[in-house]
């Protein structure tokens, strides 16, 4: 009998909150399996498809995981393609019950998936679509129009929407299409998830870049920032700290977040079209969490599993089985990624042998 790897790896023990940063190449996809009494709810934050870098085929994996169930909530931090790719197939073949989103309205320059995304929101019906606005109250979101506030728990965990701020959204809405496009990372959702008797926190940041933190987040949400696990902003890009490589870095945000572990969702630098993760950003991150506290998922093409149990114990492991089972395979496979020192152990060591006719 074939083992269902998705169920085996992804379903946590009862009462455990499991967050899985999925390796999807150049992009983001984070699956949260949220305890709800003895059951679980399944939250997917962003999605991507990267065949070239052998990312996970989310549709295949989620079909295995959910069987006949649907994704309870799909959360989109911002509508860039590398956070939305395949959303149409996930909706069609896996199913989505609710959508929460940043409310960004991109211009025509936006990729093809935003259009599909809006169509899906239409199909789901406005009662099942919610908008994310920065708040100081836990478990609070808005209706589809961004008007009515609502307290809405997800299972047994708590969350707080930190960004985008309402005034910022209004400000950007009034801009030209081009400006809106440029400011998309400013309007990116930032959400903190909390669980456990001794509470532990995971901060999901999407691509929220420096100016969003500097102008709109740190000052107003200081109290909510401290987090144990930080998803590195924008695939390990330096835009979290500065606009250009030579600029002086801004670190008030990470000082406040004070993370213990940082997870970078990016392929290997040489495989990334943007050279993510940036070396200067990686060095900065390491200053905060040390060598072992920073996990770059693309390095060995692994997923990262963060478990918080109901006592509030937080444990992190990496996983290769999901990638192995569900990755897109291409001809340029990963086999060439061999450590030279391991070749001698893997292969024949020839020695002196005499040959000859006599």
């Amino acid at each position: 009998m074939k083992v269902n790897i998705a169920k085996k790896i992804l379903i946590p023990p009862i009462g455990t909150f499991r967050t899985v940063f999925l390796y999807v190449g150049q992009g983001d996809a984070t699956l949260m399996i949220v305890p709800d009494g003895e059951n679980f709810q399944y939250i997917l934050i962003d999605c991507n498809k990267d065949e070239k870098n052998e990312g996970i085929d989310l549709k295949k994996m989620l079909q295995d995981l959910l069987s006949d169930n649907k994704i309870n909530i799909f959360i989109n931090t911002h509508p860039h393609d590398d956070h939305l790719k395949e959303i149409d197939e996930l909706y069609k073949d896996v199913g989505i019950k609710e959508i929460w989103h940043s409310g960004h309205n991109p211009g025509k320059m936006q990729g093809e998936y935003y259009k599909k995304f809006t169509e899906i929101m239409g199909k789901i019906g406005k009662n099942n679509v919610h908008r994310l606005f920065g708040t100081n109250t836990a478990n609070k979101i808005r209706d589809n129009e961004g008007e009515e506030m609502e307290i809405k728990k997800i299972g047994d965990i708590d969350y707080i929407v930190i960004s985008p701020a309402e005034f910022l959204v209004k400000d950007i809405e009034g801009e030209s299409a081009k400006t809106r496009y440029n400011r998309i990372h400013e309007q990116c959702a930032v959400i903190k998830f909390t669980y456990g008797k001794k509470p532990k926190h995971i901060l999901i940041t999407g691509d929220a870049e420096k100016c969003a933190w500097e102008k709109n987040i740190v000052e107003y949400h200081k109290a909510h920032l401290p987090s144990n696990v930080l998803s590195a902003v924008h695939h390990g890009s330096r835009t979290f700290f500065k606009e250009n490589e030579d600029d002086e870095e801004y670190t008030n945000h990470i000082d406040e977040i004070d993370p213990e572990y940082i997870i970078i969702s990016a392929p290997r630098k040489k495989e990334s079209p943007h050279e993510h993760p940036h070396d200067d950003a990686v060095e900065l991150y390491k200053k905060y969490v040390g060598e072992d506290g920073l996990i770059h998922m693309g390095k060995n093409r692994e997923c990262v599993i963060v478990d918080i149990d109901n006592e509030g114990n937080l444990n992190i492991i990496t996983d290769n089985e999901l990638v192995n089972e569900y990755k897109y395979t291409n001809n340029e496979d990963d086999n060439k990624n061999i450590k030279k020192s391991s070749v001698a152990i893997q292969t024949d060591r020839i020695d002196e042998k005499k040959f000859g006719e006599k």
Binding site: P13, E260, L314, I338, F355
Partner: protein, 786 residues
């Protein structure tokens, strides 16, 4: 010495790659010599900490059947130690690492420091259940997290503290009753009673049973004769009496045993007639004297003089005579000193001896003939002792099935069997095992031996107490014997299967399924029957030949602490299965191999199963042939070698540089699943090669680099295949030197290839291709230019 990685190079490559690239593990050293060993640090990221825990991973010589051995270390040792471990045999590692192990005194770390992390309960999956090192590392982290938080999630309720505890007392074994759980008591004292002698207590009186071990004495002419060594039933004597020599030399030890009545020493006489009824010692004297009292006194005093003179309390005697069928019979008596005995005063004359005898009363001892022939009488023509007494069988696994099978075979009168098991009897066993409660704590082999021996002392039983997963089959089984395995673990039985086929040994397998309501019994005669791996393939192919018995969701494994699965099934089911298995074995031993080699037994009907005679209480039997794809049963010889034309041209160009001297290099490529070798690259000799008229030695460094670069560039596909060289004559046959070198390659652990290829070109560029399987003769292989 066999090296697993020569047989399973893909697993080697996969595992090494994982060891080097798992984010949860930072490998410090990795060596492959006799053993593949990795040492590094587990990265523990728990509650804000970033801790590193040193571990040692040793791949077992029986990989992939046996999981790697995992140890937690106090610190990362020098690379020299890891190298030394890698150079050792699996049995030697413990002494090397003992002092480096970090004992955590936590569940799932055995008394040898090894972690037992993955439950292996593999039955009827058919196919090896192999856990990759990535999975194992995750389990180690889970265990370490459990250690830190002092709890393990998802674990079985049964905690075997005794198994995991390092410092064991091997003498005492306590059972505690329900009253020990009384909540009223908080502390206090307890008392344990000894179970020994429970039978005597039930009986209400003592009963000691003895069986004759040997007799000796004088001939009719009065000459003392030694018994023949093989006429002594040494097995019935205490352990330190192993031979006739001991009987005569260890007199002090013997005296002790006699006093304790561990053995009984008595005297006997042959008498002419079957003894009549008699009332006292005087009549007994008459019988011993063949109706002559004085002869009787004389005969008796020859042996009993000293005993009687010193008024020994008890004197055992025996009479032997021929019965009406002209066969010898015996009668035993005990002379017991009377309470009101009259001491003899003065010189102890013959008269006084006879008087002194009167101080004894005669008690008769119940006795029955007991010999090979009479003992097997009741088996009649069903189990034929004459046929079976020369047969040998190995019983692999002495659990509920194996123990019962051993018992049945011993009662059938099989000549010799060997019991193989690693476990001891535990309190939960006797509910369905041959052992009774008073054997708790004894090795199962010993218990089954004792009980079988008590059921039939005329058979020979050998024991092998060891975990066979640490051994090669020839360590515990002789080539000329057949075996029955009741291990019921797919991994271990797949391992036995591979090794048995290599050595042409017949093995039967018997396993209880669905809580014992079904059983699968099958025979594997190498080259005739579908082997364990053939059945695996049939199952994977959904072939009708293999009847899949679905597991019973209501009868799942009860618990599985540290890979010791307890599966439900009561004695009613297991004894039936043992009996059927034994019957099949006995038929095989007595009448040779049957037409059928696969049997399914059931006591319940499953409608979805489609096979003939699936009615309950019928035994379905069938013959399942070898699977044509089985790598163990079929000739796995290389069928052909495919070489691209350009590569042939490359060799010829190399030769043309100087066609008077030899040249050569290495071959690289891969073996496909049709047993063809595809050669993709060929090297030249390299600058430091030695090229002479009839001698060639390649440049090692050059060729190694050539191979390593190819391996990386090809994404681990292209590997070393063998060698090529040129003979500057018309002879392209391999020379003795060529053959010797190639045979070395096939055996050496440095080479991962199991069957290297040698290509030799002659002066006319005719190409000769030979293959060199390890431990077998080389053979010619067709070379196709493509």
């Amino acid at each position: 010495m066999k090296y697993w990685f020569k047989k399973y190079p893909d697993i080697l490559r996969e595992e090494v790659q994982a060891l080097y690239s798992d984010e949860n593990y930072d490998q410090k050293f990795c060596f492959r010599n006799n053993l593949l060993v990795s040492c590094g640090e587990i990265k523990l990221r728990l509650n804000g900490q970033k801790e590193r825990i040193p571990i040692l991973i040793i791949y077992h010589s029986n990989t992939p059947y046996i999981l790697p051995l995992i140890y937690i270390l106090k610190e990362i040792p020098d690379d020299s130690l890891i190298k030394q471990i890698s150079n050792s045999q699996i049995g030697e590692i413990h002494s090397l690492i003992r002092d480096h192990i970090d004992f955590k005194y936590f569940r799932h770390q055995g008394d040898d420091g090894k972690l037992c992390l993955l439950e292996s309960d593999n039955l009827e999956n058919f196919g090896i259940e192999y856990f990759s090192i990535r999975q194992i590392i995750k389990r180690i982290i889970e265990w370490l997290v459990g250690l830190k938080l002092k709890k393990l999630s998802n674990d079985t309720p049964e905690i075997d503290l005794f198994y995991h505890f390092k410092n064991k007392n091997i003498i005492y074994y306590f059972l505690f009753p329900q009253l020990f759980n009384d909540e009223l008591f908080f502390d206090g004292q307890y008392i344990m009673g000894k179970l020994y002698g429970i039978n005597k207590e039930l009986l209400g009186y003592e009963k000691e049973i003895y069986l004759g071990a040997y007799i000796d004495g004088c001939s009719k002419a009065g000459i003392y004769l030694n018994p023949k060594e093989n006429e002594i039933n040494i097995n019935l004597l205490p352990n330190n009496i192993k031979s006739f020599f001991d009987l005569h030399t260890k007199t002090n030890i013997l005296k002790g045993y006699i006093i304790d009545e561990k053995i009984i020493k008595g005297y006997w006489w042959n008498v002419e007639n079957e003894p009549r009824f008699f009332k006292d010692i005087n009549e007994l004297i008459e019988i011993i004297g063949n109706n002559d009292i004085s002869y009787g006194i004389k005969r008796i005093s020859k042996y009993l003089y000293e005993d009687v003179k010193s008024f020994n309390e008890k004197i055992f005697i025996g009479l032997r005579y021929k019965n009406y069928r002209d066969e010898y019979e015996w009668q035993f008596f005990l002379l017991v000193k009377k309470k009101d005995y009259s001491p003899i005063i003065g010189e102890f004359t013959d008269l006084q001896f006879s008087k002194a005898l009167n101080n004894y009363e005669v008690q008769i001892i119940q006795s029955e003939p007991f010999n090979d022939k009479t003992y097997h009488l009741r088996n009649n023509n069903l189990s034929i002792r004459e046929k079976l007494s020369s047969k040998k069988i190995n019983i692999i696994g002495c659990g509920a099935l194996g123990g019962e099978i051993a018992d049945i075979l011993s009662k059938a009168g099989i000549g010799t069997f060997k019991l193989i098991d690693k476990d001891i009897v535990k309190a939960g066993n006797p509910i369905r095992h041959l052992a009774s409660l008073n054997y708790i704590g004894f090795p199962k082999t010993l218990v089954v031996n004792i009980i079988c021996k008590l059921h039939n002392p005329f058979i020979n039983i050998e024991e092998y107490v060891a975990d066979i997963s640490n051994h090669y089959i020839l360590d515990y089984i002789n080539n000329d014997t057949i075996s029955i395995s009741t291990i019921a673990d797919d991994n271990i039985e797949a391992m036995i299967n591979e090794q048995a086929i290599e050595n042409n040994m017949t093995i039967f397998y018997s396993r209880a399924l669905r809580g014992g309501k079904y059983a699968r019994i099958f025979r594997v005669i190498p080259g005739i029957d579908a082997c364990f791996h053939c059945l695996t393939l049939y199952k994977q192919e959904n072939n009708k030949k293999y009847i899949v018995i679905p597991p019973d969701e209501f009868n799942q494994t009860l618990y599985n602490e540290c890979n010791n699965p307890i599966r439900p099934a009561s004695a009613a089911e297991l004894k039936l299965i043992s009996s059927i298995t034994s019957k099949i074995l006995l038929s095989h031993l007595q009448y040779g191999k049957s037409k059928e080699n696969h049997w399914i037994w059931s006591t319940e009907k499953i409608d979805t199963l489609k096979y003939d005679e699936k009615e309950p209480y019928k035994l379905f039997s069938d013959f399942i042939p070898i699977n044509p794809k089985c790598i163990f049963c079929n000739d796995s010889r290389i069928l052909n070698v495919k070489i691209e034309k350009s590569l042939q041209d490359f060799m010829i160009e190399e030769i043309k540089l100087n066609s008077k001297i030899e040249t050569g290099g290495v071959l690289a490529g891969y073996r496909d699943n049709t047993n063809s070798i595809i050669i993709k690259n060929i090297s030249g000799p390299g600058p430091d090669s030695i090229k002479k008229e009839a001698y060639f030695q390649k440049d090692i460094e050059y060729c190694q680099k050539f191979l390593d670069d190819l391996y990386i560039e090809s994404g681990k596909k292209i590997v070393y295949i063998g060698e090529w060289h040129y003979h500057p004559s018309t002879n392209n046959n391999p020379s003795e030197m060529d053959i010797e070198s190639m045979q070395e390659i096939s055996l050496q652990k440095e080479y991962v290839v199991e069957t290297p290829i040698l290509i030799i070109l002659s002066k006319n560029y005719d190409l000769n291709c030979t293959a060199y399987p390890s431990k077998h003769k080389q053979y010619f292989v067709e070379a196709q230019i493509i």
